[in-house]
Structures are given as structure tokens and as C-alpha cells.
């Protein structure tokens, strides 16, 4: 399928005798917002790390835009158009919000030499300001990222993931620890970005309300395998999913 952005084929990963991910396959199309959910220990994070090449899969392969990524370095994946956020806070605390966001774009502009001999902002201040405005962070532009609240840092983190104009963004628990007002803002920004740019999202999240309202399709993992796949409404009423979550 030419519109496939991410293709995961028969990925398996074991730790000793534990099958963390067992023969998982799925495709994600252009502009899709896919949610990966499952109870704790279901293999979501292991699968995420295999997709991003941070963990070598025991079997299977991952393709992004038809290119096998294997254990491609994160910097090369990023140049291929893959953005990501982390479960933990991942801003650069001793740099301003503006510098955090410029950094997220600078490696996509010019060569190594031009980044030394060119302008100190790599010509990205205007673009970074647009991203800051998009995420409603104008009032924090010149603050040190480390001095912001948890939720504000999550927004900066998201802005950084989008700065290089990725075609695929993997969001690892973006709602974790974020208050309701901030969460509504984050969701609104993600929806708007997806609508305006057609960017594909893969979201790991425990917050069911967030996933059900943001995602267009959901895959449910339990004990390392896919137990259900469908629209949010289909997933809500799926007995296997209810059993997996309630331990039935």
C-alpha cells in the first residue's frame, strides 16, 4: 500500500523465557492516529523500542516509508522523518524554550560546516516562533526549559518533536502526569497538527479518555500479542479487551 508510513511485520522480542512481544504485525497509513494500548506488561514499550531500533527485535522487520530501519540510529530515523516524545520529561533544562525548539530543527538545515559558519540560530528563529505560537508557549519563549511546570515541559517536548516537520511521530504516554486543562490543550494541538499536516501518529497511552478521543484506530496488546484492533467504539465494546483490563 503506497500510503503506508509505518509497517511492522512479525516482530517478536523475548527477555529470557518471557515473550514480551510475540509476532506482532500492523500497518499505519498516512495521516492515521493509531493508539497502542494494553495493561501494564503487555509489551507496548518493548514494541515501541523495537520500532525505534532501540531494542533489537529477535524476529521480524520494521519499514518506514518502505525503507527497512532495523537498528537504524535515532538521528538517522529522525532525518527519515520520524519524531518522537519520551515517557519521561526530555527537554534540555538549561536551554531556553526557543533554543530547545531551534535545536530540534537545526540538524535538518544545511551541512555540518554550514551549521558552524552560518547564523547562530541556523536561520530558524522565525520557524521556531511559529511552533512556539502553535503550542501556545509564547509567554515562555525565553524561559529556561527546566524552570517550567511538568505540563509546560510536555508541551515543549511535543513542539520539539514537530519542529523538523516529521511525517511520523511516536508519542510515548504524552498525557502522563499532565493536568486536565493542559491535556485538553495538548490534544487540541495534536489534532490540529494532524489535520493541517497529515502527519501520522502512533500513541502509547494509559489515559483511555485521551486515546479514545484522539485516535482513529486502536490496537490492543495483551501478553505481547494483539488481541483486538478497530475504531475506538469497537474497542470500547470488545469483550476480550474488557477482560484483559479487568483481568477476566
Amino acid at each position: 500500500m503506497s500510503d503506508t508510513v509505518l509497517s511492522v511485520r512479525n516482530i517478536s522480542k523475548s527477555f529470557g523465557g518471557i515473550h514480551a512481544v510475540n509476532d506482532v504485525s500492523f500497518d499505519v497509513g498516512k495521516g492515521e492516529v493509531l493508539g497502542l494500548i494494553g495493561p501494564n506488561g503487555s509489551g507496548k514499550s518493548t514494541l515501541f523500542n523495537c520500532v525505534l531500533g532501540q531494542l533489537p527485535a529477535d524476529a521480524g522487520e520494521v519499514q518506514i516509508h518502505g525503507q527497512r530501519v532495523g537498528q537504524m540510529r535515532a538521528s538517522r530515523l529522525n532525518k527519515l522523518g520520524v519524531g518522537r516524545t519520551f515517557q519521561q520529561l526530555s527537554v534540555f533544562p538549561q536551554m531556553s524554550v526557543l533554543d530547545n525548539i531551534i535545536l530540534a530543527g537545526q540538524e535538518h538545515h544545511g551541512s555540518m560546516a554550514s551549521r558552524l559558519f552560518g547564523p547562530s540560530d541556523a536561520g530558524l528563529t522565525a520557524e521556531a516562533d511559529r511552533m512556539i505560537q502553535f503550542f501556545k508557549l509564547e509567554h515562555l519563549r525565553d524561559e529556561m526549559a527546566g524552570s517550567l511546570s511538568y505540563g509546560q515541559q510536555k508541551l515543549v517536548d511535543a513542539a520539539m518533536a514537530f519542529m523538523a516537520g516529521p511525517s511520523l511521530v511516536l508519542l510515548d504516554e504524552p498525557a502522563g502526569g499532565v493536568n486536565l486543562t493542559m491535556l485538553a490543550n495538548l490534544k487540541d494541538r495534536l489534532e490540529t497538527y494532524n489535520r493541517e499536516h497529515g502527519t501520522t501518529f502512533v500513541v502509547i497511552e494509559h489515559n483511555m479518555e485521551f486515546v479514545m478521543t484522539l485516535c482513529t484506530r486502536i490496537i490492543v496488546l495483551a501478553e505481547g500479542a494483539i488481541i483486538a484492533e478497530g475504531t475506538p467504539d469497537e474497542i470500547r465494546s470488545n469483550q476480550q479487551v474488557i477482560d484483559a483490563y479487568l483481568g477476566g
Binding site: R73, A74, S75, L77, N78, K79, R84, F86, S90, V91, F92, P93, Q94, M95, D99, I102, L103, A104, Q106, E107, H108, M112, R115, L116, F117, G118, S120, D121, A122, H139, L140, E143, S147, S149, G151, Q152, M160, M163, A164, T181, M182
Partner: protein, 326 residues
């Protein structure tokens, strides 16, 4: 006065002082000030590797040694000092690049031991390869250079020559740390995994941090050769790498003026304390301990803390002025 004006006026005022202070002073004071400028250049290099890029190195003195010996050998063979200076910085850049490779695999105290071992290795080579380095007897009689008929032979002339090199080094250092490379160095220090996920080639930037920092060390060594006109392996032993590390930490690692201030403390403070005679090293050590306990971010960090306490507290952080809506 705006921050921008202070940023321009402060270095100009400091430069004017550096031009004026040595006038009318004796040879010893001029020598100590030249030595401070030279160590400031070496500390700038370590500040880039450690302070900005977060890569621990206990080998900066060894790069000074490599630079000093290359310059000494070339100038004794009749080449102009500039040839030695360029060769010293080039060689140290290359060797620094190689020393950076272990940093791709090991970090923190393990990396400290790798660089410590490298410093010891260089010391042993300088001491044992007598045919080249003169062994424990070292090398003597390196000439001070002349430029277009202008000699730097006298101490004051040589001081101004080193001051020019110091200004050039500081300008290059400022340019690097304020370029996108500088931003990538800081990202490497603060969160290498995140930096890599944003497209920063952390391998390349780690190697560059070592290579550029080492080249500054080599440049400082190239000055030492004609300054002292006698070099021997003991001048580049591990204790001197620790001294340069102290300069960076005391001044403020990761801050532009940190290593210059730190070098001033390490080189000039013991001289100021000499009136205490036998106690000066003890007082010096106690002052450093107190500083590190109360301000781990060094003298500049201490100054910033004091300034934040005394400045008017009228400015509210912009998001707080709207109330805690977020």
C-alpha cells in the same frame, strides 16, 4: 544599561585592563599574567569538552605537552613559531579525535580513567623517548618569535603577543559555543538520548568536543614553549590536568567566562596569598573547598546567586503574571 550593552562593554573594559595592568610591572608579575592567559586558553578547551559537551577529560595537560614539544622541536629546527603553533593545534585536534572514541563507549568515571591513562601514557613517552624529547632533561632554548621585524623577545612584548592569541582563542571559543554546534554540545551534555532522537549525530559531536578542546590545549602548549623556554615532562603530568580541571570547575563549567576566572583563581590567587608565607597553600585550598561547597557552579554561579538576591524582584515570570492558568 541593557544586557546587550553589558555584553559588549564588559569584554572591552576587561581587554583595556589587560592592556594597561602589566605596564610598569616587574618581570615576575608579567610572567604570571602571561601564564594565566596561557592556562586560560587550555581551560577554554577543557570547558568546551567538559563544561559544554559534558565529557570528562583528565588529559588536558597532556595536550599542552604535545603542543609544547611539537612547537619546541619545530622552532629548534629553525621553523617559525607559527608553523609550530599550527602543527601543534592540528596534531592535538587529530589525537583528541582519537581520544574521543572511548567516550562513545564509556562515560563518567570510566571515561575519566581512560583520559587519565592517556595523560600518563603521554607523560611516559615524553620522559622515555630521550632521542626526541630529551627525556627528563627536556628541551631548552626555544626562541620567542618575531613578526615582520617585531620581536616578542622581551617579557612585556611576549605578554602582548599572548594577549592577542588569548583574544583570538576567546573569539573562536565564543563563536563555536554560540553556533548551532554549541547548542548541540549542550544538548549532548544535558540529554544525549533526546539529542540523538532530534537528529543530532551525538557520535560526531562527542568526537568534535574532544578534538576542538584538545586543539585549544595544543595551542596553549605552543605558547608555553617560548614562554618558559624550557620544557620537561613533569610540566605535563596528571597533576597539571587536575589543575586545569580545577580552573574550569572553580570558574564555572559551561560558562563562557568560567575558565578565565578559574585560571585567575588557580594561577593568581596563590601569588596574592604569598604574604601569608607558609600558610598560603592551606588558605588557598580552604577557599577552594568553601567555594565548591557553597557554589558547585563556580565563581560565576556564586556571582549569579548573589545578584539574584540583591536585584529588585519586580520582574515576574511571564506566565506567572497571568496567574497559574496552566
Amino acid at each position: 544599561m541593557t544586557t546587550k550593552m553589558v555584553r559588549i562593554l564588559f569584554p572591552l573594559a576587561a581587554l583595556a585592563l589587560l592592556v594597561l595592568i602589566p605596564l610598569g610591572q616587574g618581570n615576575y608579575i608579567i610572567y604570571v599574567m602571561t601564564s594565566w592567559l596561557m592556562f586560560s586558553i587550555a581551560a577554554m578547551g577543557l570547558n568546551l569538552t567538559l563544561g559544554y559537551a559534558g565529557q570528562i577529560s583528565l588529559a588536558q595537560a597532556s595536550f599542552m605537552g604535545i603542543g609544547a614539544y611539537i612547537t619546541a622541536l619545530l622552532t629548534l629546527a629553525g621553523y617559525h613559531w607559527v608553523v609550530g603553533w599550527v602543527a601543534a593545534m592540528g596534531a592535538c585536534f587529530g589525537i583528541g579525535l582519537l581520544l574521543g572514541y572511548p567516550a562513545l563507549r564509556v562515560q563518567h568515571h570510566f571515561l575519566a580513567f581512560v583520559t587519565l591513562a592517556f595523560n600518563t601514557l603521554v607523560f611516559l613517552v615524553l620522559r622515555n623517548e630521550e632521542w626526541l624529547t630529551g627525556g627528563n632533561h627536556g628541551l631548552v632554548g626555544m626562541p620567542r618569535p618575531s613578526f615582520f621585524g617585531i620581536s616578542t623577545g622581551k617579557n612585556l612584548e611576549f605578554y602582548y603577543f599572548v594577549l592577542i592569541l588569548f583574544v583570538i582563542s576567546a573569539a573562536v571559543f565564543y563563536w563555536i559555543v554560540n553556533s548551532p554546534w554549541g547548542r548541540a554540545f549542550k544538548a549532548l551534555r544535558e540529554n544525549p538520548v533526546r539529542a540523538e532522537s532530534l537528529g543530532v549525530d551525538t557520535r560526531r559531536i562527542t568526537l568534535l568536543a574532544f578534538a576542538i578542546g584538545s586543539a585549544f590545549g595544543g595551542g596553549a602548549g605552543a605558547i608555553m614553549s617560548p614562554l618558559v623556554q624550557f620544557i620537561e615532562p613533569g610540566s605535563f603530568a596528571l597533576v597539571h590536568s587536575l589543575k586545569i580541571l580545577l580552573m574550569v570547575v572553580v570558574g564555572g563549567a559551561g560558562l563562557f567566562y568560567g575558565p578565565m576566572l578559574g585560571a585567575a583563581v588557580v594561577i593568581l590567587l596563590p601569588e596574592f596569598l604569598r604574604f601569608t608565607e607558609g600558610y598560603y597553600l592551606m588558605i588557598y585550598a580552604a577557599l577552594v573547598i568553601v567555594l565548591m561547597v557553597y557554589s558547585p557552579t563556580g565563581l560565576i554561579g556564586l556571582g549569579t546567586k548573589l545578584w539574584q538576591q540583591i536585584r529588585p524582584q519586580s520582574e515576574v515570570r511571564k506566565d506567572m503574571s497571568k496567574g497559574a492558568q496552566l
